[in-house]
C-alpha cells in the first residue's frame, strides 16, 4: 500500500533522509522507530506529499505522493506529531468541517467521540493536551481511511485511552488497513506492530518482523551502538 524506494531528501543543513526503502502492506502495522532528528517526520512529510524527495519514489497505492497529494489524502488518516487545529473552533464544528470536506457521515465520528469521551462543545485550543490528542485521533479515524500515518499518536493520552487506541489500531489491522506508526513507546509497538523499521541519521538500519526480534529495546539500542 505504502511503498518507499530509495527516497532521499536533504535539508540545507545536510540532515534528512538518505536512500530510505521500506513498505507498509495491507493489513500490516509498521512501527517506525528512531530518536528525535533521525528522519522519521521527514519521511512522513514525503509520504503525505508535503515535500518531494530529491531522488527515489514514494507511492501510496501506486500513486506518487507529491503529485497526487489531494487524491491520496482521501484515503489517509493522519495524526501529526505537533497537532494543529483551526483557531476558535469547537471540536464539533471541526468534525463537521472535516465530514463536509471528506464527504463522510458523522455516525462513525459520534461513535469515536463516545469511545474516547471527547468534549465536542469545547473550543479545541482550550482543551488539555490529552483531549486535543483525542480530537486528532477522532479526525484521523472518522472517515475510515485505508492508510493510517500516526506520528506519536498516544502522546498525552491516559492509560485507559491508550488501551482503547491500541484496540482501534488492532481493529484497523484486522480490517486490512495499512498503518505506519512513528513512536517512542516500545510497549505500544509490541502490542500492535507486525514489523519494525528503525531509522538512524536518515538511513534505514533495520527492517525486521517483530516475531524475529527477541528483545525490541535491545535491538534498538544495538542499532544505536548503546
Amino acid at each position: 500500500m505504502v511503498n518507499i524506494k530509495g527516497l532521499t531528501f536533504t535539508y540545507p543543513n545536510g540532515k534528512g533522509v538518505k536512500n530510505a526503502s521500506f513498505e507498509v502492506n495491507k493489513g500490516e502495522v509498521v512501527g517506525f522507530l528512531g530518536p528525535n532528528g533521525a528522519g522519521k517526520t521527514t519521511t512522513i512529510r514525503c509520504i503525505l506529499g508535503f515535500m518531494k524527495g530529491n531522488s527515489g519514489t514514494c507511492k501510496i497505492d501506486g500513486k506518487e505522493c507529491f503529485e497526487n497529494a489531494e487524491e491520496n489524502m482521501k484515503d489517509i488518516g493522519f495524526i501529526a506529531g505537533e497537532i494543529a487545529f483551526p483557531e476558535n473552533m469547537r471540536a464539533k464544528e471541526y468534525f463537521e468541517f472535516i465530514s463536509k470536506i471528506r464527504g463522510c457521515d458523522m455516525r462513525r465520528c459520534d461513535e469515536l467521540c463516545k469511545m474516547f469521551e471527547v468534549d465536542t462543545k469545547q473550543i479545541i485550543q482550550k482543551l488539555s493536551k490529552g483531549n486535543k490528542q483525542k480530537v486528532a485521533l477522532v479526525s484521523a479515524f472518522m472517515h475510515d481511511p485505508k492508510v493510517l500515518i500516526l506520528d506519536e499518536p498516544s502522546s498525552g493520552l491516559d492509560l485507559l485511552m491508550q488501551h482503547k487506541f491500541l484496540g482501534l489500531v488492532n481493529k484497523a489491522k484486522a480490517e486490512g488497513k495499512s498503518v505506519l506508526m512513528s513512536t517512542h513507546n516500545f510497549n505500544e509497538v509490541e502490542r500492535t506492530c507486525d514489523r519494525v523499521v528503525i531509522i538512524k541519521d536518515g538511513e534505514i538500519r533495520a527492517d525486521k518482523k517483530l516475531t524475529d526480534i527477541k528483545n525490541l529495546e535491545k535491538t534498538f539500542l544495538e542499532v544505536y551502538d548503546v
Binding site: 503525505l48 515535500m51 497529494a69 482521501k74 494543529a84 487545529f85 483551526p86 483557531e87 476558535n88 468541517f97
Partner: protein
C-alpha cells in the same frame, strides 16, 4: 471550496472587525480634528503660516476657510484618503491572512485533508477579496451615513466610482503582494506587513495626494473602465502565478 472560504473568513473575523473599528476611529478623529482646526483657517496669522511653510495658495486657503469640519472630512475622506485607508487595510488584512496561512499549524491542518494547494491558495485569495470588499463597502456606508449626504443624485455616482476603483485597486495591489508572499516570502517576514503600511501611510500623508491616486491603481486613476477590466485580470493572473509557484514548494510542516 465554499466551506474552506467560510472557515477562512470566520478565522480572520477578529482582524476584519479590527479594520472596521479602525475606520470608525479614523472618522471620529478626523471629524474632531477638523472641527478644531476649521476656525483656524479664518485666522490671518495661520493663513500666512500655511503660505510660508506649505506653499499654499490664496485660492486653496480660501476654499478651506469656507468649510466646516464635516465638509473637510467629506472631501478628504471620500476623495483623497479613502483609497489610501483601504490600501492600508488591505495590506494589514493580507499580512494577517498570509502569516496565518503560512503558520505551520494552520497549513498542516488543511493540507492533511483532501484539499489541493490550488484550492488552498484560491480559497485564501477569495476570502481575502471578500474581506477587503466588505471593509470597503462598510467604510463607504459609514462615511455616507456619518456625513448625511442628501444630494445623492449628484454625489452617488462619483462616490461609487471612488469606492469601486479604490476597492479594485487595493485588491490588485494586495493580490500582487500575496502572489509574491505565497511564492517567495512565506511567513518569515511578518514585519514586512507591519512596516509597509506604516511607511505608506506616512508617505501618503506628507505628499500631495493626486499623483498617489494614480500610483494606487495600476491602470491610472481616471479611467474607470480600464480599472474595472484590468484589475480583475491582474488579480486572476496573480492567483494563477501564486498557485503555479506554490505547487512546487516543499512544505516543512
Amino acid at each position: 471550496m465554499f466551506n474552506l472560504i467560510k472557515l477562512q473568513i470566520l478565522k480572520n473575523k477578529k482582524i476584519l472587525l479590527g479594520c472596521m473599528a479602525f475606520i470608525v476611529f479614523y472618522l471620529f478623529t478626523m471629524i474632531m480634528t477638523a472641527e478644531l482646526t476649521a476656525p483656524m483657517f479664518e485666522n490671518e496669522n495661520f493663513q500666512n503660516m500655511l503660505k510660508e511653510m506649505f506653499g499654499m495658495t490664496d485660492a486653496e486657503i480660501a476654499s478651506m476657510s469656507g468649510m466646516n469640519g464635516y465638509d473637510m472630512v467629506e472631501t478628504g475622506f471620500f476623495h483623497q484618503y479613502y483609497p489610501i485607508i483601504l490600501l492600508v487595510l488591505s495590506i494589514i488584512l493580507i499580512g494577517k491572512y498570509i502569516t496565518k496561512a503560512f503558520e505551520t499549524t494552520t497549513m498542516s491542518c488543511y493540507l492533511c485533508l483532501p484539499i489541493s494547494r490550488r484550492k488552498y491558495v484560491a480559497s485564501t485569495a477569495v476570502s481575502l477579496g471578500l474581506s477587503v470588499l466588505f471593509c470597503g463597502i462598510v467604510a463607504y456606508l459609514i462615511g455616507l451615513l456619518t456625513f448625511n449626504i442628501v444630494d445623492m443624485d449628484v454625489n452617488f455616482w462619483a462616490f461609487s466610482q471612488t469606492v469601486l476603483i479604490s476597492t479594485l485597486s487595493s485588491l490588485a495591489v494586495a493580490y500582487i503582494s500575496m502572489c509574491l508572499a505565497f511564492s517567495f516570502i512565506g511567513g518569515k517576514y511578518r514585519s514586512f506587513y507591519i512596516v509597509v503600511p506604516i511607511i505608506l501611510f506616512f508617505v501618503f500623508m506628507f505628499k500631495d495626494i493626486s499623483p498617489i491616486l494614480s500610483y494606487l491603481s495600476p491602470f491610472g486613476w481616471e479611467n474607470i473602465y480600464l480599472n474595472v477590466i484590468g484589475c480583475p485580470i491582474l488579480i486572476a493572473a496573480s492567483i494563477y502565478l501564486s498557485i503555479k509557484l506554490f505547487k512546487r514548494r516543499n512544505l516543512s510542516l
